[in-house]
Symmetry: C2
Subunit: 223 residues, 2 copies
């Protein structure tokens, strides 16, 4: 057998298997034994290629997130270029922010869906491995988008903007992590495969939310 080709096969099989099982059972619940078994190999091979379980988990995050994030930044560039000296349209920014993530998560049958589940959970995950790995990949995008939203919404105080971005991230994360949940609860009404529809619904929802007037609602008398 050509060893140089088999290397990639084994490594990729391990990544695929880890992705699927971490999505299905969580990091702690995905044992190396189950992963290697699903990949058609054994414990020692995984250790040979990745060293530890943590390194394998990091590789699972890194594999697809780089490209997806690059696409987000490309759309952000495009929106800023089209806007010229003025601020880009809010809808374009939101679409650049959520579009590639949701799209990648829903439109590929297995890969994307498993990966999206993992990413959607990663930020609020108890195990630090996935969270830190994801935040590391996100650092530049956070900076870039935060600046772009600041210019698009110049009247918002910075705390208000950051909270709103936080809420937006929540809507996005829950959507990509909770595909299964939607199908369980609303499967008779909602179609989780209509990727473009979902993205445009999110764009409408989040654009209106981000642009909400600041102090329209007075504080209630009592909580």
């Amino acid at each position: 057998m050509p060893a140089t080709a088999v290397v990639q096969d084994t490594k990729l099989s391990l990544l695929d298997a880890a992705e699927a099982l971490i999505a299905e059972h969580g990091l702690a619940g995905a044992s190396m034994r189950a992963i290697t078994s699903r990949a058609g190999t054994n414990l020692a091979a995984a250790n040979y290629h990745f060293g530890t379980k943590e390194e394998l988990a990091r590789a699972v995050i890194a594999r697809h997130f780089g490209p997806v994030n690059a696409e987000r930044l490309r759309l952000l560039d495009e929106a800023e270029r089209e806007a010229g000296v003025g601020a880009p349209r809010l809808e374009s920014l939101v679409r650049a922010f959520v579009g590639p993530v949701v799209r990648f998560g829903q439109e590929l049958p297995d890969r994307g869906r498993h990966f999206a589940q993992i990413c959607g959970r990663a930020m609020t995950q108890p195990e630090p491995v996935l969270r830190e790995s994801l935040l590391g990949e996100l650092a530049e995008a956070i900076r870039r988008f935060r600046a772009a939203f600041t210019r698009a919404l110049p009247d918002l105080p910075i705390e208000e903007l950051l909270w709103r971005i936080h809420f937006m991230v929540g809507a996005m994360a829950h959507t990509i992590a909770g595909t299964q949940l939607i199908e369980e609860v609303h499967g008779d009404v909602l179609d989780t495969r209509d990727v473009d529809g979902i993205v445009e619904r999110m764009v409408r929802f989040l654009s209106a939310a981000l642009a909400a007037p600041i102090s329209e609602t007075p504080a209630p008398e009592k909580g």
Copy 2:
């Protein structure tokens, strides 16, 4: 020692310890050994009171969620009563929906925060125990709020409404589960202890989002 009093102490200590450790390390990462040790007792006692680890987890969810959910339904009743024959104000519905959850999560120093983290993660959690337990407690509230939002937003097609509720749940879940994340990323700017402020920010954000015009944004040329 009065055995009848000690019973409650041991049981409560176990619930407190389980809550804290599940919040911190996830269900799979919180071992019964660690829980019983933190509670100042031992494995056999936990098994005596709860039978299995899963039962203990269910009890952790059930303990606070009943009251919090009752408060949400009480606020919903109040909003509907005040509105009389007409539909309640959207802001009141959103405040009833997210207020008690966020409030309970942030305003108690330990208990609430741990519990909120668990609930915020539970719906997209890989382990079915927590998800099913939470969804069980939620069944009536889902029905009631869905009907209320339908009346408050009569022009929205049902799919659009359900997706928007899904996005809203995401913003709420991410907020209560991600307190630690906010402090890590934006701790210099945002104050996670300003409970009333957070709730009112969410109410503004989500009310505008839920009421967004339906087809204002035409589909983009290319994704």
